[in-house]
């Protein structure tokens, strides 16, 4: 449902992606893996329209996405949960969630979706009046995912959801993602944490210096020499 072909992108004179190709199929839970600076976040930001690719194509349900503004892409159902969570700190949990469900596609189902988010993360329900900025990192990550879900995503893209979280909270977050996947959501997850991601996702692609080095299922990737090279630089 999401096809990326020949994607090149960079920042000013520095080019980061050198022709990335991969496909995200409906119902997949794909891990986009790689070391720091491999270009993972750049890919996800190209998909969201935050970074303009220098060349290449992104097709979502047959429609070309390159050149569209971020809010248009979100409104089509391709929704990113950004790195560092970026919740609205001086607003209540409830207001954060309401904002996530404010798009044309999602607004009619806003209260139903909020019930589902609260069922997935009961902690958010307990804290719904709290200022989002005063919550712990793990709770903020729950809120960021909840806010993304409120927009009725067809594909949910997450950028480093385990960043800065304790192992326990990371497990909780990934368990929630697995549940969403089992309920039919298509997920693209950018992660540095290889083992965690491969334990929950159905397949993965490993990015190395701006190109896809290897792709395959979890067990294939875990012990693949190229994966080890991509991570350890051996």
């Amino acid at each position: 449902m999401l096809e990326i072909s020949g994607l090149h992108a960079g920042y000013g004179a520095v080019s980061v992606l050198h022709g990335v190709d991969f496909t995200l199929h409906q119902g997949a839970f794909l891990g986009l893996l790689g070391a720091n600076n491999a270009g993972k976040s750049t890919i996800i930001n190209c998909l969201s329209g935050v970074v303009r690719p220098t060349s290449g194509h992104i097709r979502f349900e047959g429609r070309e996405l390159t050149g569209l503004a971020p809010h248009k892409i979100t409104d089509m159902g391709l929704i990113q949960v950004p790195e560092g969570r970026l919740i609205f700190p001086q607003m209540s949990v409830l207001d954060n969630l309401k904002l996530g469900g404010g798009t044309k596609r999602a607004i009619a189902k806003r209260s139903d979706e909020m019930e589902r988010v609260f069922a997935l993360f009961p902690r958010l329900s307990e804290r719904h009046t709290q200022m989002a900025g005063t919550m712990s990192g793990g709770e903020q990550q729950m809120l960021a995912i909840g806010r993304g879900l409120m927009g009725q995503p067809k594909v949910l893209m997450l950028d480093e959801p385990s960043l800065g979280l304790s192992p326990l909270f990371s497990q909780i977050i990934f368990a929630a993602l697995k549940k969403l996947h089992e309920d039919g959501l298509t997920i693209l997850c950018v992660e540095q944490n290889l083992n965690l991601t491969l334990a929950y996702s159905t397949s993965g692609v490993v990015l190395e210096r701006g190109v896809i080095a290897v792709e395959g299922s979890g067990p294939e990737l875990r012990d693949h020499p190229i994966t080890r090279r991509a991570y350890l630089g051996l």
Binding site: V50, P89, L99, G100, M150
Partner: protein, 286 residues
């Protein structure tokens, strides 16, 4: 005692209008991080527009706002789309320079068009007075205060309790995330600029009855708006409203009790003291 009450009530009533002007500056600052140093000059443009409408259509300022408000909204949107947006968020100093430059352009254009003589625009209520005990209250100031209070309350409620207001706050707090959850960030910024400048058209007609205008007054209004916004804690609308009343009252009381030019210093001295001892603004919570 009567004199004190007279000065206090006058200052508080004037403060209401200050609040409205400062709110315009604050909403613009909150969504774009830009301080509009031509704010007072835009207020004067609003006043002269009301004057021009009076000259050509013989309309009372209270009615001409129906014409000047949309015009000023368009000017605000244009200011953002054609000038400030192009600078980008990383050039704050350039935005300051640009708005300062606009201030000179606005001031001199008004000077060329209307001349430098102070002008008054007549209004139906201009000379009406109310007597409360021994305190004389000028009707236009009472109208201005309650109109400003109502508009500020409406601003506050919209911002805090509606979807549109939540979007504005989202853009203010985290523009990147706002775009990712489907908010059209440039549109929100354009509309906020339009409203922030548009509200000056309303403030203009509230000030006009009983006050004279001259092109050189712009900077004074900019300074009042600026210190009010800083006193209030930049984006705290309740703080800004209280700060405006404080500035108005101190200005009015100082001219009564401190002789001559020295009295005009008092609000600014108060401002400096507050910035030194409470840099976060008079109300802590934002």
């Amino acid at each position: 005692m009567d004199l004190f009450l007279q000065a206090l009530s006058q200052g508080i009533l004037v403060g209401g209008t200050y609040a409205l002007i400062a709110l315009g500056m604050a909403v613009i600052f909150s969504v774009s991080g830009m301080l509009n140093f031509a704010h007072g000059d835009f207020l004067l443009i609003g006043m002269y527009l009301a004057y021009a409408v009076f000259l050509s259509l013989n309309l009372d300022p209270y009615l001409s706002v129906l014409i000047t408000f949309p015009v000023m909204c368009l000017a605000g949107a244009g200011l953002y789309v054609f000038l400030l947006k192009r600078l980008g968020a990383s050039h704050l100093l350039m935005a300051v320079q640009l708005t300062l430059g606009l201030s000179f352009i606005a001031q001199n254009t008004l000077l060329l068009t209307f001349g430098g003589e102070p002008i008054r625009v007549p209004s139906v209520v201009e000379t009406d007075l109310l007597l409360v005990g021994n305190v004389i209250i000028r009707t236009p100031q009472l109208i201005a205060f309650f109109a400003a209070l109502l508009l500020s309350a409406a601003f506050y409620a919209t911002l805090n309790f509606t979807d549109a207001g939540r979007r504005v706050r989202a853009v203010q707090q985290q523009p990147r995330a706002a775009a990712l959850i489907g908010i059209n960030v440039p549109l929100v910024r354009t509309l906020t600029f339009a409203l922030g400048i548009g509200v000056l058209a309303i403030a203009a007609v509230l000030i006009i009855p009983g006050t004279s205008m001259a092109p050189a007054h712009g900077l004074r209004w900019t300074v009042i708006a600026l210190i009010t916004v800083v006193l209030g804690g930049m984006t705290n609308f309740v703080g800004i409203f209280i700060g405006a009343l404080l500035i108005g009252a101190s200005e009015s009381l100082a001219t009564l009790y401190v002789s001559g030019t020295l009295g005009m210093i008092v609000p600014y001295a108060l401002f400096i003291a507050l910035v030194l001892f409470r840099p976060e603004g008079i109300l802590k919570r934002t």
